[in-house]
Symmetry: C2
Subunit: 339 residues, 2 copies
């Protein structure tokens, strides 16, 4: 009955019973209460499982650990992405070591080095801190989501196509002026830049009056909110009496705009038509549930896991790494009361 | 110049350069461009760091891994808690293996067993799935936050004191009827039960008409929202014309209530006075930023880390585990426009 590699000491420590109780369990089971017998039997299962698992890892070096690097978790989108990755455990069995480097390159570099020294088998990177060139050289498979990805595999939303959908919807409803709100200084090598291009292309093609309004990189929600309220003022002053179509680069921003317009008793969707981007919970939880371009987070995460697991298995087989692969997921238009 | 344990092969693989380039770097440095010399020097630092770190772990068995078990991440509170834990890396150097077991006991048990087989040094548990008795027997130090904690160390908000603050504020402003919204079937061994007790005690002491309204455990936001809207209807029908003080067990619920009352053009804080619990971002981002009892998440997380690190160090020294310790953090009243 005693399992290999598990000692009376191990079982006593795990169950909190004395070594003599454990000894009696094996020699005179009837002298131990049924409840305690059950606890000891459970402990044996667990300890046996653990020693097998550890032996397997030590033998093969397959830790089944994946490092997950995320930026500012206070944005709904990343929380949702993280939840889906954690949920993939039941399908793939990989465990996630999660890190929020708060945009500090040195901290992120040190962290990755630590992860690799612990034989993490792959990395999923959503943070923008390190270049894909540096990440490609880190020695384990890497898959990026929605970030610069020249030298590494990636899965991205088709941001351009999402922006076209949003802009066509607003333009088709007869807006006098089209406005896009986004962060300033978006680099063209990140996928989200497609949101600006899609907006601008549709407006120019249709010859509609349009403007891109930008805010600085936000440090936190309060900072973001005060900048967006400034943009709402600008829009009010600059385009009085016109029907305004507003496409924001995130649902967090659309929510701030809608709250403020609602407080000012503005007519939505009469004078203001608004659509966000992400499909995050706030789009359904807002004072007016609003239209949005929903990223299919389940597909983004599912495809990223497939890509990474495939690369990890290639690495386990000792085969040379494959060329970086770039997958694209179509977003979906959710048409609600604000458009 | 070449560092111990690092081969030309390692450096070539890490940098993506050929072995001859690496060889030239050491024999004829001037034949390598300054940029590539810098990349190779960086790789040497990294690889040296990694081999040292791994040697240290193998020698001492100190993985500096902590397992973090959270429930449904879609609630703001847990996202915020996670962010703070991840942020403690710079102070403590511990890495977090995060798991969302989705309330499935078998999955959570299997996961903990895996973590322990990988020599995780401690666990932080926020999920309610497994009993503290079972967790206490898992063989590594455990600290709980806001959950049943009889057999393990814990850090909790003083929920009772928070509920007293909220109820005193509402009662003191002259409400005709006091209402508390909470989940049904809250067990008295979980800390959050103090929110109901604090509310009831203050109302009874002051002899104010009061009622606790409950909803079933929520599966997701939509399910929660539809239940809360039902409760809002009940309140409207049952207490017309009265000044109503509503204390909700979370900010997520207060937000749903306020959105609905705002849509119905109800007078806040004339007819309805509302205060939430948690101090999560939604309390500041809502259509009317609302009053709340803020949990001091930085202190909850800071104290939990101190407790756990202390226990980990005790375990490293081979000393017997200490008795479970239970710390309490005072919440703070944030008084905004809804009260």
């Amino acid at each position: 009955m005693s399992k290999k590699g598990t000692t009376y000491d191990d079982i006593a420590r795990y169950t909190g019973f004395s070594k003599t109780t454990i000894s009696r369990y094996f020699s005179k089971p009837d002298s131990v209460t049924p409840k305690n017998r059950e606890i000891i039997a459970h402990a044996l299962d667990v300890l046996d499982y653990q020693s097998n698992k550890l032996a397997q890892v030590l033998a093969k070096g397959h830790t089944e650990f994946i490092g997950l690097l995320i930026p500012n978790l206070y944005l709904n989108f990343f929380g949702e992405v993280l939840r889906r990755f954690l949920g993939s455990y039941e399908q793939y069995g990989y465990k996630f070591i999660v890190f929020d480097g708060n945009n500090k390159a040195e901290a992120e570099r040190k962290y990755i080095n630590e992860l690799i020294s612990y034989n993490v088998e792959g990395l999923i990177v959503l943070s923008h801190t390190l270049s894909s060139f540096e990440l490609a050289g880190c020695g384990v498979p890497v898959v990026a989501i929605e970030r610069e990805d020249k030298y590494i595999s990636s899965v991205n939303t088709d941001n351009y196509s999402g922006a076209v959908m949003a802009t066509e919807l607003l333009a088709g409803s007869g807006c006098d002026v089209m406005l896009h709100i986004n962060r300033s200084g978006i680099n063209h090598d990140i996928p989200a830049a497609g949101r600006i291009d899609g907006f601008t292309d549709v407006c120019e093609e249709r010859g509609i009056l349009h403007e891109v309004l930008t805010y600085d990189a936000e440090t936190d929600y309060t900072h973001l909110e005060s900048q967006i309220l400034g943009i709402v003022n600008t829009i009010e002053e600059k385009y009085p009496g016109k029907v305004k179509g507003i496409f924001t680069s995130s649902d967090a921003i659309a929510n701030i705009v809608i709250n403020e317009l609602f407080r000012r008793k503005k007519d939505i969707p009469g004078e203001y038509r608004i659509i966000g981007f992400d499909g995050s919970p706030i789009s359904a939880q807002a004072i007016i549930p609003f239209s949005t371009i929903a990223q299919q987070i389940d597909k983004l995460v599912g495809s990223a896991m497939e890509l990474l697991v495939d690369q990890i298995e290639t690495a386990r087989d000792g085969a040379p790494p494959k060329e970086p692969e770039h997958l694209t997921i179509e977003p979906q238009l959710i048409d609600r009361a604000t458009t």
